[in-house]
């Protein structure tokens, strides 16, 4: 039996478990996730980081793959890091701003 692909809600829930360890906030509330597209069970996440050359670049993108590859129905995970548009704090959720103390 083929499992159904994961829902977007389940994916975002899983991504809440991935943190930026320098800022101490999960990447969803930080506003780093630009889009999630699920095609035939392949999950493609388009995301950014708070700064180009971030030392956590690889760790966070591999963390996203780890978090999503554990989801039932996810056949493959692709992560694309983009710099346009550049991240800014207005992309954070209210919760993210509260956690980080960003203005």
């Amino acid at each position: 039996m083929t499992a159904n692909p994961p829902t977007e809600a389940a994916i975002l829930e899983a991504l809440h478990q991935v943190i930026d360890p320098e800022i101490n906030c999960n990447i969803v509330d930080l506003g780093l996730i630009y889009s999630v597209v699920i095609t035939n069970g392949v999950v493609k996440v388009t995301m950014t980081l708070t700064t180009p050359g971030c030392p956590m670049h690889e760790s966070i993108s591999w963390g996203v793959k780890n978090a999503l590859s554990g989801l039932e129905g996810a056949k493959d995970v692709e992560v694309e890091i983009v710099w346009d548009p550049p991240w800014n704090p207005s992309m954070m959720t209210e919760a993210g701003r509260a956690i980080t103390g960003c203005r």
Binding site: N4, A9, E13, Q17, T50, G53, E58, W62, G70, I99
Partner: protein, 459 residues
């Protein structure tokens, strides 16, 4: 889209059979390399500060004695150079979005560096300049490997910027500093009779090449990357940032020649350097005002306090370069204060602050990066104690000010008390480093699904 899955699916731990992704080793410097440089550096810092507690007269009353030259080289080569080189191996590839050319060369440099500086310190203590030259040559071999390795790394930088310019400038000045040092030793031995410079002037010129050209240049250049990164800001005026690097280079060329030739116009070049640092301070202030992260953590506070030391240092530099300044005991004491504030107040304080960023990152990267997304991992700030950071900050500041003031009164007791506080501060720092290193031996992982109130909210 397929049918919805229960929300609990999202927080299920990754099944054992799931593919585990880990950061590629190929594009990141291994944590062992920078850590070994840093451990050696911290040992040298403890030894040097302890040495001053045991023999405070080195700082309180004597100048240019074998003991003073030996302890200075222990601080500069053993502590500052070791830590800075380790950090450069780790940070330059990160900051410039490339990878280190060769870790093997870096390991060879580590061996040459330790042999070289330990031998030099011992031989300076006994004023055996012949052997200082031999060990200095070993150290130079290492420095050449270091410069070659970083230069090749810079060759792969995808986009040239002000940070890369600062790093290249610093490496060039490092090579010139070491070369000047070897010429000084050769001059002492009479191998280069053509160089009839005043030996004290030549020593001061050599010291400024290293202090301003290597350490200050590197701090200025790299902080244009690190301060925006840690405070969520960005460079506000690239022209101003570039001008600060250019002026620092121009000022140092003139200052080196002016000091070496004992010319009164060296004051002009001191003012050029002060102008460069003013631009740097202006740009940094603007970066900080634009920051999105309101709270400044202790690591950044250490660093910014170190930058404040540039005010008294600039004032002292102007005074000490004043053309009609008499060469008496008091001006000699001012020179001691200037050197101490420069190497310990500015460079060391800044480096201690940056170590609070670098060491947790290294351990986190080595231990937790493979678990991210599979387990809950600690944040960097969870790996050390902020109250210990605060205690270390105030103790260091108190020790710094006490030790810097003591030479003005030729106070042996003042130096001993001040250095005692510095040692206490370093013990506190070591305790925090111990807390960070404990994650290496006992990782603190939490299963997914357990709420972390500081980092996570309900979706």
């Amino acid at each position: 889209m397929a049918a919805s899955l229960p929300i609990s699916v999202g927080v299920k731990p990754a099944p054992v059979s799931a593919t585990v992704f880990t950061p590629s080793k190929a594009s990141t410097t291994s944590i062992r390399l920078p850590l070994q440089f840093m451990v050696v550096g911290l040992l040298a810092l403890f030894t040097g500060t302890g040495w001053l507690v045991a023999q405070p007269d080195i700082l309180a009353v004597s100048r240019y004695t074998p003991g003073a030259v030996a302890v200075t080289h222990l601080f500069v080569l053993g502590w500052l150079c070791s830590v800075v080189m380790g950090a450069v191996y780790q940070l330059v590839p990160v900051a410039l979005e490339t990878k280190l050319h060769s870790e093997r060369l870096a390991q060879w440099q580590f061996v040459f560096h330790i042999l070289g500086f330990v031998g030099m310190v011992f031989m300076f203590q006994t004023w055996n300049m012949k052997w200082v030259g031999y060990f200095g040559t070993v150290l130079t071999l290492g420095v050449v490997l270091f410069i070659y390795n970083i230069a090749r790394t810079l060759g792969h930088v995808p986009k040239w910027n002000v940070i890369a310019t600062g790093v290249v400038s610093a490496l060039t000045w490092l090579l010139l500093t070491i070369t000047a040092g070897l010429f000084l030793v050769a001059g002492q031995r009479g191998y280069v009779p053509v160089l009839q410079f005043n030996p004290i002037a030549a020593m001061n010129a050599h010291a400024h090449l290293g202090a301003v050209g290597f350490f200050t240049m590197l701090i200025v250049g790299v902080s244009y990357k690190l301060v925006p990164m840690f405070t969520l800001s960005e460079i506000q005026n690239h022209g101003r940032a570039t001008a600060s690097i250019v002026l620092l280079n121009v000022g140092l060329i003139g200052l080196f020649a002016g000091i070496l030739l004992q010319q009164p116009w060296k004051l002009v070049f001191v003012l050029v350097i002060v102008a460069a640092l003013t631009l740097y301070g202006w740009e940094l202030r603007t970066i900080l005002r634009a920051r999105k992260r309101r709270a400044l953590d202790w690591g950044v506070m250490y660093f910014l306090t170190a930058l404040v030391m540039l005010f008294p240092l600039s004032a002292l530099a102007v005074v000490l370069c004043w053309p009609s300044l008499p060469a008496n005991q008091f001006t000699g004491q001012l020179e001691t204060v200037y050197g101490f504030l420069g190497f310990i107040g500015f460079v060391s304080f800044a480096i201690l602050g940056m170590l609070y960023k670098i060491i947790p990152f290294l351990i986190w990267f080595g231990i937790y990066s493979k678990h991210i997304g599979r387990s809950q991992v600690p944040a960097l700030a969870d790996m050390y104690s902020a109250p210990l950071q605060a205690a270390g900050y105030w103790t260091f500041l108190a020790g710094l000010l006490a030790t810097a003031m003591a030479p003005l009164f030729a106070s042996v007791t003042g130096v001993r008390a001040g250095c005692g506080l510095l040692v206490l501060s370093l013990v506190i720092f070591a305790m925090n480093v111990g807390k960070i290193l404990s994650h290496y031996f006992r990782p603190k992982l939490t299963p997914l699904g357990v709420n972390r109130t500081t980092t996570r909210t309900a979706p």
